[in-house]
């Protein structure tokens, strides 16, 4: 069966109203008229009645932070770009959703593509940009086509192009596709990719708001981050702050997958706990028990079953050494060998490291090799210490988030992995050389 064939795999958490997912599955995602009939483009019209500074103030006051993983305050980002004396400026939508276990942006792009286009237009008006780009993951063909259609229809209707809706503001959007590189989800690597270079991250500073795409001031936000913007413009920052805990306001999409009954994208406040998310999905498959939950995807950490009552707010997760990251909640049950899971994660980073900086280029390879050797039943007494040193070098000295997080998941289960080998199967250093 093809994807999205049977039952909806997106919904609001019971007792909670959907905002970001409101139109998904309810409207024809190829129809601008349908989008307008369901409240579409009211926010842009409202925004054009305000000054750019007023919009930025609103977004700042809302407390919206980036939903791609880094959780940087969106309003501050916009303000910083708007303040730059340099033009042209760019607005970029990071739709290169590639974090393992993450698929929320794809659901938004497939189900409500006009919302992304509208939100980017509001952002462009706020920061004074005339050109935007959407960089869509290469594997997401349906999302790409829906967005391409949305951009063309919006242009046709005067929502994009010269003098948007008769105002003095002009803005247009181009689409770009990725071609198989997780690292291009890193904002500066994404710029390099659009510029026709190898998608390797840049050293920051300078930050994108100062020197981003083509060396110009650039606002780059994740798909879901953009999706919040029209709601904030229409309903105001106070409305936004009333959703969720004070330190993590606004609606959030959670990608729950793995060994649950109904995996999917669930929308709710960040006060929900991991256990609630598992329950919303119909719980575990019959007869299965939770072994751990991988929160934040491959770049995240394993949260053991005893911490399931932790809310997914930034503070609460930080307290147990975890981070929500891109919103992936991947449930691993007791039927899966954790060593297999860890092998996939370490292989992933070895495959996706861009190779630019040494710690990541070499460290991702070595940690994968060590895990593979464990799979073959060989363990060296100094493996844990070696892995910890690799993790330190990658976390502290890598250029970008890929290397800085490439050891997180492994480190979170290292004690368990090591215990497993205690009492047997040691090989001496010289044996392992061969």
């Amino acid at each position: 069966m093809t994807a999205s064939a049977d039952r909806p795999t997106w919904q609001a958490i019971p007792g909670y109203e959907a905002h970001l997912l409101r139109r998904v599955g309810q409207v024809d995602p190829t129809s601008l008229a349908d989008y307008e009939a369901h409240g579409g483009y009211r926010a842009l019209r409202a925004a054009l009645e305000m000054t750019p500074a007023e919009i930025i103030e609103m977004v700042k006051a809302s407390g919206l932070v980036g939903r791609g993983g880094a959780a940087f305050p969106t309003g501050i980002k916009w303000e910083s770009a708007a303040r730059q004396p340099v033009t042209p400026r760019y607005v970029v939508c990071n739709a290169d959703e590639s974090e393992p276990g993450t698929f929320k942006d794809r659901v938004l792009m497939e189900g409500d593509p006009f919302a992304i286009v509208e939100a980017m237009t509001i952002a462009a008006y706020a920061v004074g940009a005339e050109q935007g780009y959407i960089y869509v993951r290469g594997e997401f063909r349906a999302a790409y086509e829906r967005l391409a259609n949305a951009v063309a229809a919006a242009r046709e209707a005067g929502y994009l192009g010269k003098r948007v809706l008769g105002s003095d503001f002009s803005f247009d959007i181009e689409l770009r596709r990725g071609a198989g590189a997780y690292v291009c989800g890193e904002e500066t690597a994404l710029f390099e990719s659009i510029e026709g270079k190898r998608g390797m991250p840049r050293q920051k500073p300078p930050f994108p708001t100062e020197r981003g795409l083509f060396g110009r001031p650039t606002v780059i936000n994740n798909v879901e981050t953009f999706a919040n913007v029209p709601h904030i413009v229409l309903n105001g920052p106070d409305w936004f702050r009333r959703i969720g805990p004070p330190d993590a306001p606004g609606p959030k999409l959670f990608c729950v997958s793995g060994a649950v009954e109904r995996p999917g994208v669930y929308e709710g406040p960040m006060s929900v706990t991991l256990r609630q998310l598992v329950e919303v999905c119909g719980g575990m498959r019959p007869g299965r028990k939770i072994q751990a939950v991988l929160v934040g995807g491959a770049a995240g950490t394993f949260v053991p079953a005893e911490h399931l009552d932790t809310p997914v707010s930034f503070e609460a997760l930080r307290a147990i050494g975890a981070s929500l990251g891109s919103g992936a909640v991947l449930v691993v049950d007791d039927s899966v060998d954790m060593l297999e899971v860890v092998e996939r994660i370490t292989r992933f980073f070895a495959h996706e490291s861009c190779g630019k900086c040494y710690p990541c280029q070499l460290g991702t390879q070595r940690q994968w090799e060590i895990v593979r050797r464990w799979q073959a039943g060989h363990h060296r007494p100094d493996d844990a210490e070696r892995l910890q040193d690799i993790a330190h070098a990658m976390r502290e000295a890598s250029i970008c988030g890929l290397g800085q997080t490439a050891a997180s998941a492994l480190m979170s289960v290292l004690p368990r992995m090591v215990t497993r080998f205690e009492g047997g199967n040691h090989v001496s250093a010289s044996d392992a050389d061969h």
Partner: protein, 161 residues
């Protein structure tokens, strides 16, 4: 290349020429969609038309895992083997594809029809376990369904829905 392929490539080059280097990645993607891979002579044309040093064209073409600088199958079966699919039985899917296609991951059938790949997370985890045939995603497959699918692909038939 056939004359019609020549023409298609020429059109692609004309389309992306105004972008210069910024047209490189989309141009390579479009060319590959037409030819199935990126032959050296076409890469050289791309570099000349867009004004990109040839070494850099190669650097970009080899950076992205979905660009191919060597011939691959007209149909690429990409089996997701990442965590969410693993938790839903992807090893059985991969085994079914190996058997039905008679290929190990990374191999292309001698007739150039099919390539089998193990792929990192495809971003369709709510439908795990899944695989892609070219750009099309197939989810919630069991081993039997994967095998039927792979046999159809191998036989050159349209993949069963």
């Amino acid at each position: 290349m056939t004359p019609s392929q020549d023409e298609a490539v020429a059109d692609i080059l004309v389309r992306w020429q105004p972008y210069g280097r910024a047209g490189l990645l989309p141009c390579l993607i479009d060319v590959q969609n037409h030819l199935g891979w990126l032959p050296p002579d076409v890469c050289a044309q791309v570099g000349e038309v867009l004004g990109v040093p040839l070494a850099d064209v190669y650097g970009v073409a080899t950076f992205y895992s979905r660009l191919y600088t060597q011939p691959v199958g007209r149909r690429i079966v990409r089996v997701c083997d990442d965590v969410a699919c693993l938790a839903n039985g992807s090893p059985a899917l991969l085994e079914a594809c190996r058997t039905a296609l008679g290929l190990a991951p990374g191999e292309t059938s001698p007739d150039g029809l099919v390539t089998l790949e193990v792929h990192p997370c495809l971003g369709h985890c709510e439908h795990a376990p899944c695989l892609m045939v070219n750009d099309q995603v197939f989810g919630r497959l069991d081993a039997a369904a994967a095998e039927r699918l792979a046999r159809a692909v191998r036989a050159g038939e349209a993949p069963p829905k």
